[in-house]
């Protein structure tokens, strides 16, 4: 984990650098989700950057597609594409689109950006893997604001019905969305109880505690007969003090000065 914790600093720094270079993007939700993605890719998600289409791979659907800078940073670090390419984010002709697109960039499993759709797509992948008797696992990451979308609850009903124990939902609960805090805009809590009552194996963790993330991702693999949900309590903008729990940083790029301050905190703080 020691190693991983220095890696997450690098990943956070990349998120800040690439959004600054792009001049737009979503730092808050990228910084809240990065620890979850880092542990998932480092220790749990079976993948091969040299063979991104390997049929036996596990799959991740980043349903909160606006947080793709976090995913792009992880994919680059794992070797899916050159790290220099991160600085092309959102530019005309870049493979790193403002929201992820599978046909443009290796490692992206599904186009997202319209919130609420990812869990259904993940469910379909999990269903297909079951049909083929494959042992792959499907992971879906949503935002907590995203959980307000009706389609998510349709999928939440369907996954237990199909006994999809190969499907894991990770909810990045940073309590932030655009117009305000989730608990004011359209409250979800008690979210874990709701998920349990929908028949999901549910656990709540600190989404910035690397060991806790690792533990939860190990535990879900042992669950039989039902899908699993990990409610990850996170901080929007985590790692940059002036962005933390500050709604203004949902979808705004830092300027050069802010970028330097943020990098200093992340790398030397």
């Amino acid at each position: 984990m020691e190693d991983l914790s220095s890696q997450t600093k690098e990943l956070r720094a990349d998120i800040i650098r690439m959004i600054t270079a792009a001049g737009s993007g979503h730092p808050g939700g990228s910084l809240s989700v990065i620890d979850l993605l880092a542990v998932l890719y480092a220790k749990h998600l079976r993948h091969d950057p040299k063979k991104p289409d390997w049929p036996g791979r596990d799959r991740l659907v980043l349903s909160k597609g606006h947080a793709c800078p976090a995913l792009y940073a992880v994919l680059a670090h794992r070797g899916f594409f050159p790290q220099e390419e991160l600085m092309t984010l959102r530019k005309l002709g870049s493979r790193l689109q403002g929201h992820p697109e599978r046909h443009r960039l290796p490692g992206i499993e599904a186009a997202t950006g319209s919130l609420g759709q990812g869990l259904s797509m993940g469910l379909g992948m999990a269903l297909a893997a079951k049909m083929d008797g494959a042992d792959q696992r499907i992971f879906v990451v949503t935002g907590d604001g995203e959980m307000q979308a009706g389609q998510v609850w349709e999928a939440l009903m369907a996954a237990p019905k199909f006994k999809l124990d190969n499907l894991t939902l990770i909810v990045d609960c940073n309590n932030g969305q655009i117009d305000g805090h989730v608990n004011e805009i359209m409250a979800l809590d008690p979210l874990a109880e709701k998920l349990k009552s929908f028949n999901w194996d549910t656990r709540t963790i600190d989404g910035h505690d690397l060991a806790a993330i690792d533990g939860a991702l190990s535990a879900v693999k042992t669950v039989k007969g039902k899908p699993q949900a990990i409610v990850a309590r996170t901080i929007k903008g985590k790692g940059v003090s002036f962005m933390e729990d500050n709604i203004a940083w949902h979808g705004k790029a830092p300027n050069q000065e802010e970028c330097e301050r943020a990098l200093k905190e992340i790398l030397h703080g």
Binding site: L92, Q97, G145
Partner: protein, 313 residues
Amino acid sequence: MAKATREAFGEALVSLAEKFPQMVVLDSDLSKSTMTVDFAKKYPQRHFEFGIAESNMIGAAAGLALYGKVPVCTSFACFLIGRLETIRVAVTLNGANVKLVGTHAGLGIGDDGASQMGLEDVAAMRSLPGMTILQPGDALEARQAVEWMLQHRGPVYLRLTRQKLDDVHRPDYKFECGKLDIVWEPEPKAKHFQATVLASGGTVGGAVNAAKELLPKGFAVRVVNAGTLAPFDVDSVEDFAKDSERFVTVEDHNIVGGLGSAACEAAASLGMGKPVVCLGVRETGESGLAAQLYDKHGLSAPHIMEACIRNLS
């Protein structure tokens, strides 16, 4: 002064709030982008935040309307049209007096990329009987279109830009629903036009620039603003067909089903044999700056000029 039509919309809501006491505003976690946030602050009793749940918002808007309120529902154009079937049944089948306001239309949203670009919304909305579709070409028109929309009884879709638009209308402009209006013609007025260009929303300014550049090259081109996309002004198309060699349409929308299609349908139904050259988006959209994307996808002034003078035979 250049202004985004979404900004003019936000200002109009506040200034018209007292005149239309039944108006209520519904949001789905984008109020700072759709610019309803000032209205929400000033009239919290008349503002409802639904969160990231557009279907529920639109369904509830229909209910509010069926009870007698005048709901204005906002989101990005792409997320509203994502709920087409709700709009189809709850809104248009009921004839519910719902005002749907889709902002960040088309490529104009820029670097957020394809998933955030409403590029099919006009096509879908045009296929719904009873839906009036407005797309103002500048802030002045936007303000008046909002007022018209609020006094009109029936479903309306108002399509607005993220990007700033230059003024294309004179200060004495009066919005008329269902009318194509001429925004630029050579002075003195030509008897015969190389082309009549129909543009709407984000493309009107580029069309005017194209026409101005073509004049010294010896081509008289008229630029018409299509502020109402449905119902479509076939009578004016007939008038323009009499003195124009061709029509050119240019829209920040998929080439299928929008302004170009409306113009083709009108021109064909008139049987006057005038060709229609359609400029519009043929792909899914992508990240980039709005101006870069207009260039790359064939919507900017040089493309419009070429479409006006290209040999068609």
